[in-house]
């Protein structure tokens, strides 16, 4: 296709290798005398005892809170439309079938 003429798998592989090299470079600059389980792995919060994992983890419902607040006027009716009732699904089916039939009928008239 025209849009894929520029595509070259070798370029992708080379880019991947370069990325891996950069990551390895950064890691190699790291602290040499790092040992697991010592005080190095503890979180340093200016001497305070850090809160336990339950409070540290950001839960899913906190993410994009502002996004949902900003789009409240879109989300409220949309979620309200998703009533998990089977009858409503068939209602949507009938409505769309009638709409498509009417559209085809009117376009056929013109």
């Amino acid at each position: 296709m025209a849009s894929l003429a520029f595509w070259n798998p070798i370029a992708c592989i080379i880019a991947f290798v370069v990325l891996v090299a950069i990551i390895y470079l950064f890691r190699s600059r790291g602290q040499k005398k790092y040992k697991k389980g010592t005080a190095q792995t503890q979180i340093f919060l200016s001497g305070e005892k850090p809160p336990d994992a339950e409070q540290r983890h950001i839960r899913a419902h906190n993410i994009y809170w502002g996004f949902f607040q900003a789009l409240k006027r879109y989300y409220d009716p949309t979620i309200k439309a998703h009533t998990g009732i089977i009858n409503d699904y068939i209602i949507w089916f009938i409505a769309l079938a009638a709409a498509i039939a009417v559209i085809l009928f009117i376009v056929g008239l013109i």
């Binding site: 009533t83 998990g84 009732i85 089977i86 009858n87 068939i90 009938i94």
Partner: protein
Amino acid sequence: MTQGIPFNIPFLAVAVMIGIAFYIIISQRNLIKLVMGLSILASGVNLFLITLGYRKGGVAPIYTHTPAGIMVLPIPQALTLTSIVIAVACLALMLSMIIHIYRHTGSTDSEKSRIMKG
């Protein structure tokens, strides 16, 4: 245009039957009644297929001791046989699932027994 029976009354019956079935499906919240509506819908479609195959004054397309005369179309009857068996299979599966839903939630109301939404 319609010799014999005016206004294609059998086809009108099909239309009315399917309309009644859809009205039941969208208006009844009881799952058993919903399944009843679906089986009425299946019966309406089967009636449509059968009425397609009728020829005026035709006899059954079977040559054993058949009276003389034209025969009705055989293919719609075969299609109807297939769709009847399919409707029976769907009905059995739906009723089994409704039994399970009643066991879990103690209700066959499509709104009270609903867990997932949004």
